[in-house]
Symmetry: C2
Subunit: 225 residues, 2 copies
């Protein structure tokens, strides 16, 4: 990789990080290219050179945050011997339980992404790819657990669709600060579904132990930048 | 009610119907007050007089569509003797199965509502109220079914939260035209969850019979205007 390309990659990352921050704070509708450029300490012309328009910036910022999430989760999950523990860790990361108070805030970018996807084919394609990857990640762990006999013989694709949708639906409530759905409640509801459908025991003590163990480590949620 | 007030209500409904159409087509970001006024055949000044700003217009348009949904669903549900059939009908309406091809399109307004809610307290309040009502509606039917012995003794509030979140999460996939989630697939996944958790039988034949019976009737989905 040439030094010039390396510089460009660093600048690109810097712009995407700035985009995550600015869009999360202001919303896509009220975010201008100039706001992102200011936050990144660069020029609007450079942002346009790299990304063209702000819809693309949003989609790429979320893909970037998603990469970060998968990299962190992959590290955390690789250490775990059982499929059950890997699934628990994946769900815990999605709910950002046992993490810093503001670790869920970037979830708000998904709301903007969903709102733009029906009107922008580039955003729609990136959204579909990210959701496909997410469901595949869930499905792989479930298949591993079925192979080892840890999980019941459920329809894996249907389970992955349902768990993915449940996480999205509950995350909306959490990010919109619904009084009935905290991150801990989200984790509890998701794990109750996993345990019931995949046939493994899951107690309030299990949940408390997982949250307690996560404190002190610092991975991000599904969309954490 | 005076004739003047009656005229205002009709005009108000007309503007809200126009707002549903225009925002569903263009998205909130690219919708101007003038677009809604043109569609409603009235003046921007009048739209501003009634609603102030477009965020409020969106929230009120969705509340209006929600009222319409509950009125229609209440009629359909009132005819049904068993709690199981009432729950099936509620879920079927949410998935718009057995209805016109475009009956799901107004769901796209929820995506805009969610994206605006973190930045607008009025929108956030309306969103929370609509979701609370929705969960209460689910919970009431489940309690009725528990009282008659049709449903198992699950935690009703947790079930209502989970089913509501599952419907939202799957609706996102349907409205964004995800290749893996059709309206029929959404209905199937929701009903599998209801049947498993509440303990009643639900076969592909049951599903086919419900969809077939719904054809020819014309109620709307959760957000249908």
């Amino acid at each position: 990789m040439s030094p010039r390309r390396k510089l460009s990659d660093a600048r690109r990352r810097q712009i995407l990080k700035a985009a995550v921050q600015v869009i999360a704070e202001k919303g896509l509708c009220d975010t201008g290219i100039k706001d992102v450029a200011d936050q990144a300490g660069t020029s609007p012309a450079l942002v346009i050179y790299y990304f063209g328009k702000k819809d693309v910036l949003l989609a790429e910022a979320l893909s970037f945050a998603d990469e970060h999430f998968y990299a962190q989760t992959a590290d955390a999950v690789a250490e775990l011997a059982s499929a059950r523990d890997r699934l628990v860790e994946l769900v815990r990361c999605s709910c950002s339980v046992g993490e810093a108070e503001d670790d869920f805030d970037d979830w708000v970018l998904w709301l903007d992404l969903w709102a733009r996807a029906p009107r922008d084919p580039d955003v729609a394609r990136d959204r579909a790819a990210m959701d496909r990857r997410w469901r595949t990640t869930i499905a792989e762990i479930v298949r591993e657990g079925q192979a080892t006999g840890e999980f019941a013989a459920v329809d894996v694709d249907a389970f992955a669709l349902r768990l993915g949708a449940l996480i999205d639906g509950l995350a909306i409530q959490v990010v919109l600060r619904d009084p009935e759905v905290s991150r801990e409640r989200m984790f509890e509801l998701c794990m109750a579904t996993c345990a019931r459908e995949l046939g493994f025991p899951w107690t309030p003590e299990d949940q408390a132990a997982v949250i307690s163990a996560a404190h002190g480590r610092a991975p991000g949620g599904r969309a954490a930048g």
